[in-house]
């Protein structure tokens, strides 16, 4: 016969309390969160967003008559389709063109061109046709987008290299247990915050003014921002590293730099590689955007075509960026699996 464990009567135990998990305080917290959500949601027009999206879904399902969202999107889509693959150039405008040495995958065509010209006698506009010899490159634009993509890759790579080089000394001074004094620690932490607080795009905007259009501004913008990120994370890993090997080296008087190199860096290296790989990944994606302000790479091409209303070209670039990011994601996932 099993005996039940007796339950003490309420109030019979003086020093033992196990309260119910939720109290009025929790209710108040939930209420406060709700109020914040409602207020901020209204200011960011989340209600309108839900309405318009529902309307668009209704239009697609054939329930709603009209949807602003669907109209806008379809207008963009029709002007962007089809993507531009080729290029044509007037041969008369090409310097040093050799007829017997055509670039690969290209041919010469004669095109009729009709232009409105002013007749000097009648002062009327008259259609005037002329035949022009053009060089047609069926995949010429794809090739030039590809070259721009390679440039984008190079910007990302050098941005990462500069970030690593800058962040290593920063991390040393920003690690509380290695920084020589309080002033150097505060200065390093402040500089890291400064670098991290400046978004790449804004930094690039100013660097374009300093270095001119092109990849230098892009590389520096990516490198500076990422140096802040890496400096912070490297420093925190130094601070949190296993103290035991460091103590062993300190005990024999090895000095700070050597202790760091032999007692800390080997221990934190896997995390460092992971952070750096993340920064490379992030820089690759950012490098496609950074050209929008003229800092080189595919973004600069995109901005130029967009400003000239050449939406077909824009489409080609967008597809290229998508393929590029997709391949990189696959690659980085594979590399990460191998490293860790």
């Amino acid at each position: 016969m099993q005996k039940p464990i007796p339950v003490p009567a309420p109030g019979s135990q003086v020093h033992w309390h196990l309260d119910a998990p939720y109290s009025l305080r929790h209710l108040l917290i939930i209420a406060a969160i709700l109020i914040v959500l409602i207020l901020t949601g209204q200011r960011t027009e989340m209600d309108k967003m839900v309405m318009m999206t529902t309307e668009a879904a209704g239009k697609l399902l054939g329930v709603a008559d009209d949807s602003q969202v669907v109209r806008g999107l379809s207008r963009v889509a029709t002007s962007m389709w089809p993507p531009v693959l080729g290029e044509t150039e007037e041969i008369s405008r090409l310097p040093e063109f050799k007829r017997d040495q055509l670039p690969i995958l290209s041919r010469i065509e004669v095109q009729e061109r009709v232009e409105q010209r002013m007749n000097t006698e009648t002062l009327q506009l008259e259609p005037h046709s002329e035949s022009v010899e053009v060089l047609v490159k069926p995949v010429g634009y794809v090739v030039s987008v590809f070259i721009k993509m390679i440039e984008t890759l190079e910007i990302a790579l050098w941005g990462t290299i500069i970030a690593v080089i800058l962040s290593a000394p920063l991390a040393y001074f920003a690690a509380r247990n290695y920084s020589p004094n309080q002033a150097s620690y505060t200065a390093a932490r402040g500089f890291i915050s400064l670098l991290r607080s400046a978004p790449e795009l804004i930094v690039a905007l100013f660097l374009v003014l300093a270095y001119g259009f092109g990849p230098i501004a892009g590389v520096l913008a990516l490198g500076l921002h990422a140096a802040g990120f890496l400096g912070k994370f490297y420093a925190e890993d130094i601070e949190n590293a296993d103290k035991k090997p460091q103590e062993a080296l300190e005990a024999i008087g090895a000095g700070k730099l050597k202790t760091l190199w032999y007692g800390v860096v080997p221990q934190v290296l896997p995390q460092y590689i992971a952070y750096t790989a993340y920064i490379l990944d992030r820089n690759l994606r950012m490098a496609t955007v950074i050209g929008l302000v003229g800092a080189g790479g595919i973004g600069q091409e995109l901005k130029g075509r967009f400003d000239m209303f050449q939406y077909g070209h824009v489409m080609t670039i967008l597809i290229a960026i998508f393929i590029f990011v997709f391949i990189l994601d696959q690659l980085s996932a594979r590399i990460r699996n191998k490293l860790i």
């Binding site: 296993d242 035991k244 090997p245 103590e247 062993a248 080296l249 300190e250 005990a251 024999i252 008087g253 090895a254 000095g255 730099l257 050597k258 202790t259 190199w261 032999y262 007692g263 080997p266 221990q267 290296l269």
Partner: protein
């Protein structure tokens, strides 16, 4: 037992050493002790007796609040610490190897105080240094195949052998062994202590070794120092460390839940003071 090991010229002097933690608790109070050159001195005592604190005072990992430590006549201060530390090696309870570095790099890291920074950062050690590392690893019973392996992949006993090799890289005059066998099994513990003792004897190195195993203390120590509550309550040869002394050291007045903190003297045993 040569007499000089027990009564010879002192290598380590503790002069009225005291340490109070910031919260006021006393880790060490009024320790006066001298350890002759070449002596294997075992420090015994319950956990929290201040054994580690005493050891760490010798190389300045802990700074005393009272008294001083002298190494070979030189007082350990901030000014002399860097020079003195090169003469004092340490073997740790948890081996304190850099687990992701190779065995060879760990042993060579014992040379860091005397190696130039460029050499240290590139790992380009002199060939005689590399030969010395190999010689020591052979001496502690490891195989050439261990050289390139990660230190963290070795067993505990093997890691402590690497720790010993690292400690002897700079021909230390003093070796501090802070519970070097606390996490090893009895057989390996004996092997490791034999290694430390024999290596120390070969180089006339003074060893200060804290232990928890009474049998090992009796077997390896030239001298046993018993500590409790930051004080020395026994100091003598292993032969003098009788079973009564052992129970006085470990049980004493604290065996029962004490109603008030009793002084060790109150235990009623004759206590050997220095």
């Amino acid at each position: 037992m040569p007499d000089r090991i027990l009564k010879g010229e002192a290598m380590i002097h503790f002069d009225n050493l005291g340490k109070a933690w910031p919260d006021g608790t006393k880790a060490l109070s009024d320790i006066s002790l001298h350890i002759p050159r070449g002596q294997f001195c075992v420090i015994l005592g319950p956990s929290g007796a201040g054994k580690s604190t005493l050891l760490r005072a010798v190389n300045g990992l802990m700074h005393p609040t009272q008294g001083q430590v002298r190494i070979d006549g030189t007082a350990l201060t901030h000014a002399t610490q860097k020079q003195l530390r090169r003469r004092i090696a340490m073997i740790h309870q948890h081996f304190n190897l850099t687990s992701r570095l190779s065995v060879a790099a760990n042993v060579l890291s014992g040379l860091l105080p005397v190696v130039s920074t460029p050499r240290a950062l590139t790992g380009w050690f002199r060939s005689e240094h590399r030969r010395k590392a190999c010689g020591l690893l052979q001496r502690v019973g490891l195989a050439p195949t261990h050289l390139k392996r990660r230190a963290g992949d070795l067993s505990g006993g093997q890691q402590q052998r690497v720790g010993i090799a690292r400690a002897f890289m700079l021909d230390p005059e003093v070796v501090l062994a802070d519970e070097p066998v606390a996490s090893l099994d009895p057989k390996i513990s004996r092997d490791i202590l034999t290694l430390i003792r024999d290596a120390a004897r070969e180089h006339n190195t003074t060893v200060l070794c804290s232990l928890h195993q009474i049998d090992l203390a009796r077997e390896f120590g030239d001298r046993i120092v018993g500590m409790r509550d930051g004080k020395i309550v026994f100091d003598g040869t292993p032969a003098e460390f009788t079973d009564e002394r052992v129970s006085a050291l470990y049980h004493g007045a604290h065996w029962e839940d004490p109603p008030k903190k009793a002084e060790p003297e109150a235990a009623g045993f004759e206590l050997a003071h220095v």
